[in-house]
Amino acid sequence: FGLAGCSKVSDSQSASSSNGGVTTINFVLESNDKPYAYADENGNPAGFDLDVLKAIDDKLDNYSFKYQVQDYDTALVGIKQGKYDALIGAFFETPARAEEYQLSTPYNYYFMNLIVPENSSINSLEDLNGKSVAPIVPTDGRYVAIENWLQRHPDVKIDVPTVSNQETFQNMINEVHDGTYDAVYLSKEQYDGVKDALGYSMKVTDVVDGAGTVILYNKDNGTDLKNDVDTQISALINDGTFSDLSNKWFGQDNYAIAKNLGLLS
């Protein structure tokens, strides 16, 4: 807790500041979304997203990235208010978001699996027709993804109850295990994080859906940064750097899977 002092304003109020041609960019990472972006035990940023940003920063000589973690709502409000320049943390793209923020091209892909009881015959979202998934908070990316998928498949009707408070993964899985709901709509990595603590095992389906995740920029910033970063994202995906990171964090190559699903060309 330090009141570091208030220096007289130099040039602009934007969170970024330039010094000898190198522009400092304040990146904020979501604090609560392991393994994508989270705070480690000491409160420092960590996760796949951080490694992605570091890889990009290495390539960009005229920018220097600074990182901090922040709570979900606060980070989003902070970007809009110009307190931070950019936000990363497994955010999906929606038309409404595209209006409120500048969005990067997808730097990663997020895949959904269904977690179902071992004896279940459910293997895909189509199999869930007329059935239910464990409740999801509307602010969760999974909600965006499943609603998106349902729009693309108007003939499939799945009950997606919403709640106002996100339960732990463990609880959601418990609720499916005891039959309250039919499936948990979750990524395999997230399931893997808790599976040892369950005391029983569940079936994880193959990937049922996926979507790209993007970086959110303050809308009032120029497009230079976005363009420069986008260029590097493509380059780093193509040269396999991101695939290495993906293997390191998720034990799989998200980019290869995305190519298979047709999400990435």
């Binding site: 807790f1 330090g2 009141l3 570091a4 002092g5 208030c6 220096s7 007289k8 304003v9 130099s10 109020q13 969170a15 604090s31 609560n32 979304d33 392991k34 989270y38 705070a39 480690d40 035990e41 409160g43 901090q68 973690v69 922040q70 709570d71 709502d73 606060t74 409000v77 902070g78 208010q81 307190k83 732990t168 993964f169 463990q170 609880n171 997230q190 994080g193 808790v194 040892d196 603590a197 005391g199």
Partner: protein, 232 residues
Amino acid sequence: MESPMQIVSKVLPGIIAHIPQTLLYWFLPSVLALFFGALLCWARVSNRHRPLYWICTVVISFFRGTPGIVQIYIVFFGLPKLIWAIGYDVSDWTAGVYFVIATTLNLSCFMAETLRGGYLALDRGQVEAGLSIGFSRVQNFVHVIAPQTLKVALLNIKNLEIDVLKDTSVAYTIGAVEIMGYANRMISLRSGLGQLWILGTAAVIYFIMCTVLEVAFNLATRRISRFEGVSR
């Protein structure tokens, strides 16, 4: 699978290490709010300047009437811009500063009304006795009004303080990490595993602090109202 004991022993040192932070986020607003609350209360009860009365009434109404999170956001995002507008850059202030400012503003308004409750119970004759022996307003306040108002208000002030202590747990929403922030961080690091146990550990720590506060205030109440009981 980890046993609850293992989980608790893993997070306990970290939680304890964050106690000073929590206490700081509690102590600063408490002390400041006592001062500002008294000022607001004075403006309301003295009813001396109509404009001042109305300004204070609106301020109290605003900070009591709007959700804390909105106040925190307004301070966290709005204040730096305001200060920037008058020519200072405070972008390097830590989140804790904003949290303390927002809490102080909010608590002051509740405090003002609690103090007003005590003041209403005050016998006019006591105030007049003070004035008649030549006390200035400040002297009368310090020697007559404050002690007797506090006597009635103390129980309620205690409760405000206890609540502020517990509400420090909101600080993590803007990144000021104390006990609750740390607990949340651990929960998310562990993908929600053992959430109940971690929260429970934090709750026990809060409980101990609150109980200490409660007991201390109860002793103070007894001492401050000793002039009432039958002498024994």
